[in-house]
């Protein structure tokens, strides 16, 4: 049965369809909090029998109801009993268990919950590693206590019930006598405790109030977002889905109080990531601008200040990933935080500027001046590994650091046309685009807010210089596109990849080259009919279900569409947007991280890439950015310019109450872009 997931910030539960958890060492089911599994076994039986799910009902992203009957599914052994298990996240989770006797005589029931925890670090689950600490189970004060200790590192789960139970060190037993046509119920509380709790002064309200508070919070969140009215269902469904999923993916680092930023995705990535949090905040800016403010201030707080090879940290560098689990605590993994990514630093400056353009919030730009300057200095200094004026990467932590420090971070993502892999350092092309954009935008902020004309002039001069060199060094003249990277010898890594689209977004592409780039992006080798592939068909490593070597990534496409618009290719942007949104309708509006790069005419539906990460933040954000792109929303001074280009399927589109420095503004559009030849 399909896994059922509920989540709230960095707390989530993954169970089977009946609500049971029976995790193996390598399987991401269980209750996870702060990157640690606090419950790996949670099995309900009645008179020794497991239960079978008739249906599950996702009440909200933090609450699920399971309707169950005894029996394993093929034969209902006793359909005179039915069971409702309602599970709500609240720090740990609360489960309300209710059993109905539909029979005309009394029944005696032994209701049992088996519980255990392996306290696995999420990284251990991912990589199937062994534990080093000591486990103890005990019964204290009518609670089952599951504990794990490794030196001063302590994690514990306490389990209690609201009805009287016999508790032993493996679970809780209830002896229930049910008269005809009556029901029995109990509440079950599962509470994790960690050393980190001392850091959290949240003063949680009681459970029932907490649910109310969460419901209220979601209602407010949806109310604050612009309202969409449109006659094209793929868009309305995925818009609603995206808003709710984005609410669920909000994550509060312990230093952020009640403010939140987008975590990267469930189940593996429920934490702050430099790249993912920035890209998602950019996508969500016209809809939920506060996410960007928290992302910026939290990343700034942890900006690198020193050279630390283990963490791949340099002064000025923006972090890649922050974790709280056991392997991080004992420095068996470098995520405290880990800095091994090279795009987050320029993108930090890009987001800061884009945030100001939308919100007019000068204070944050003032507050983060030091960090923004440090980020720019990092681009020019530490990131220039070859001394040729380009950002490049080569990890210093060779044991547990990341090899590819760009968004395509799998081992084989960067290749020559013939499929061979270049040596390190590697300077991928989109990094140079981001650096260019960061300098242009920082120059604007320097002039407008930091009041430093000299710095602004210098940045603009550097950006112009970078653009000139880039268009010379990365352009493959006889093919008409930009090389994927420069290798360690400064030679072109000549595969055709979607990175070209990010170059359009950054604005680094010479106007004279833009059309040729667009034609490659929309041509048969890159465009599948569902979207633009990560790597072009015909490249040595092309594989339609290879992670970064042929699949279509909705997030990638959303930024490419933005890039196409930037260079005036409105119709092409509308086509990319329409195709990705059509693909979304095959996934109930929830775009996966990636789908297969197969030709649309071949498969007729988008083939999901076989990975478990869903919802994923930047896929969740993709419909939002596509909507912005289709409407051509662009802040200019204190105004919002609207310049729609929509596919013909869309009769009318209204986006009402778009928040920004103008207050609230409405945007309207009608479809006119023909899709002929695209599918």
């Amino acid at each position: 049965m399909e896994n059922v997931k509920i989540l709230d910030g960095n707390t989530f539960v993954v169970s089977d369809g009946s609500g049971d958890i029976e995790a193996s060492s390598s399987d991401p089911t269980g209750l996870f909090v702060f990157d640690t599994r606090f419950l790996s076994r949670w099995i309900l039986t009645i008179n020794g029998q497991r239960l079978h799910a008739l249906s599950t009902d996702d009440l909200s992203y933090f609450q699920t109801r399971f309707f169950l009957v005894p029996g394993t599914g093929t034969v209902y052994i006793d359909s005179k009993l039915s069971v409702i298990r309602e599970r709500t996240l609240a720090e740990g989770f609360h489960e309300e268990l209710t059993i109905f006797n539909h029979d005309d005589h009394s029944v005696e029931l032994t209701v049992r919950i088996e519980a255990a925890s392996d306290f696995a670090d999420l990284f251990e689950v991912k990589d199937a590693l062994q534990k080093k600490g000591v486990y103890t189970n005990s019964v204290e004060h009518e609670q089952l206590l599951l504990k794990y200790a490794r030196g001063t590192f302590n994690r514990a789960t306490s389990i209690s019930s609201t009805s009287a139970a016999e508790i032993d060190d493996r679970g809780l037993t209830f002896l229930v006598r049910l008269a005809p046509a009556t029901s029995w119920s109990t509440g079950l509380n599962v509470s994790p405790s960690t050393t980190l709790s001392v850091l959290r002064k949240r003063g949680l309200p009681p459970h029932s109030h907490r649910v109310e508070a969460m419901e209220h919070d979601l209602a407010v969140w949806l109310e604050h977002a612009p309202r969409l009215s449109c006659d094209w269902e793929p868009l309305t469904v995925s818009y609603q889905r995206s808003l709710v999923d984005l609410a669920a993916l909000r994550f509060s680092p312990i230093t952020a109080g009640r403010k939140s930023l987008p975590a990267a995705g469930l189940p593996w990535f429920m934490t702050m990531f430099g790249r993912d949090s920035i890209f998602t905040s950019l996508q969500a800016l016209p809809f939920a601008p506060d996410l960007a403010a928290t992302t910026l201030s939290q990343l700034a707080l942890r900006q690198g200040t020193r050279c630390d090879d283990f963490r791949d940290e340099d002064p000025g560098r923006i972090l890649h990933e922050l974790r709280y689990g056991e392997l991080t605590a004992f420095e068996e993994r470098p995520h405290s935080p880990y800095y091994g990514c090279v795009d987050a630093t320029p993108l930090f400056v890009v987001l800061l500027d884009e945030y100001e353009r939308w919100t007019g919030n000068h204070k944050l730009v003032h507050d983060l001046e030091t960090e923004a300057r440090a980020a720019i200095a990092w681009i020019d200094g530490y990131a220039d590994l070859q001394g040729n004026g380009y950002i490049a990467y080569k990890r210093r932590n060779t044991e547990t650091g990341l090899e590819n420090q760009c968004w395509k971070d799998s081992w084989d993502s960067i290749s020559y046309h013939d499929g061979t892999l270049p040596a390190f350092p590697r300077a991928t092309c989109e990094l140079q685009g981001y650096a260019y954009d960061a300098k242009v935008r920082a120059a604007r902020l320097a002039r407008l807010i930091w009041k430093d004309e000299d710095y602004a002039d210098e940045l603009e001069h550097q950006a112009g210089e970078l653009k000139r060199r880039f268009n010379r060094d990365f352009w493959i003249d006889d093919r008409g596109y930009f090389a994927l990277a420069l290798d360690a010898d400064g030679r072109q890594v000549d595969a055709l990849a979607s990175n070209n689209g990010h170059l359009l977004w950054s604005g680094i592409v010479d106007k004279s080259k833009a059309k040729s780039v667009m034609q490659h992006l929309m041509g048969r080798r890159l465009f599948s009919g569902w979207g633009i592939r990560t790597l072009a068909d015909g490249e040595g490593r092309y594989n339609p279900i290879g992670y970064h070597v042929g699949t279509v990534w909705p997030f990638d496409n959303s930024f490419i569409a933005w890039g196409l618009r930037r260079y005036g290719f409105k119709d092409e942007a509308a086509r990319v947007a329409a195709c990705i949104l059509e693909a979304a309708s095959y996934f109930d509006g929830r775009l996966p991280e990636a789908f297969g790069g197969y030709e649309r005419s071949l498969t007729r539906y988008p083939v999901q890439y076989p990975t478990a990460c869903s919802p994923q933040a930047w896929s969740t954000g993709a419909p939002l950015l596509l909507l912005r792109t289709m409407l051509g929303l662009e802040p200019v001074g204190d105004h919002l310019v609207v310049d729609p280009a929509l596919s013909v399927e869309i009769g009318h589109l209204e986006l009402l109450d778009i928040p920004g420095r103008w207050g609230r503004i409405d945007a309207f559009g009608r479809g006119r872009v023909e899709m002929a030849g695209v599918r």
Partner: protein, 117 residues
């Protein structure tokens, strides 16, 4: 780790160098006070560090602080020497923090660079 404590060690040197520094640009946005309670046999050793937009004052006063850090002095010696990362020590439970965690993350900026591992 030695259980013999000396008067002039990494901890003392660290706080004294902090006092001499006066202003620290990396703490330019920080406002608040830190109290360090360093357990050392009978009586805890106490340091109070106040930061006002990067201006640092160091004393031994016993005052309430925005962020209090409790650690064994032996452990803090290693932190002050750049041998132990303060944040992973928190995650391990080797170091306890009360109050504003944001201040602790900021404070990390002025700890010495890590030594060869």
């Amino acid at each position: 780790m030695s259980d013999v404590t000396t008067v002039s060690d990494a901890t003392t040197e660290f706080f004294e160098s902090l006092r001499d520094r006066g202003h620290e640009p990396l703490l330019g946005r920080a406002n608040g006070t830190f109290r360090f309670e360093l357990a050392n046999g009978e009586k805890p050793e106490r340091w109070l560090v106040a930061v006002d937009k990067g201006d640092i004052t160091v004393s031994r006063a016993a005052r309430k602080a925005d962020c209090t850090i409790y650690a064994d002095r032996a452990l803090f010696n290693r932190i002050a020497a750049g041998e132990v990362n303060v944040w992973t020590a928190v995650l391990r439970g080797a170091l306890a923090v009360e109050g504003d965690p944001e201040l602790l993350v900021m404070f990390q900026r002025i700890l010495p660079e890590p030594r060869e591992r």
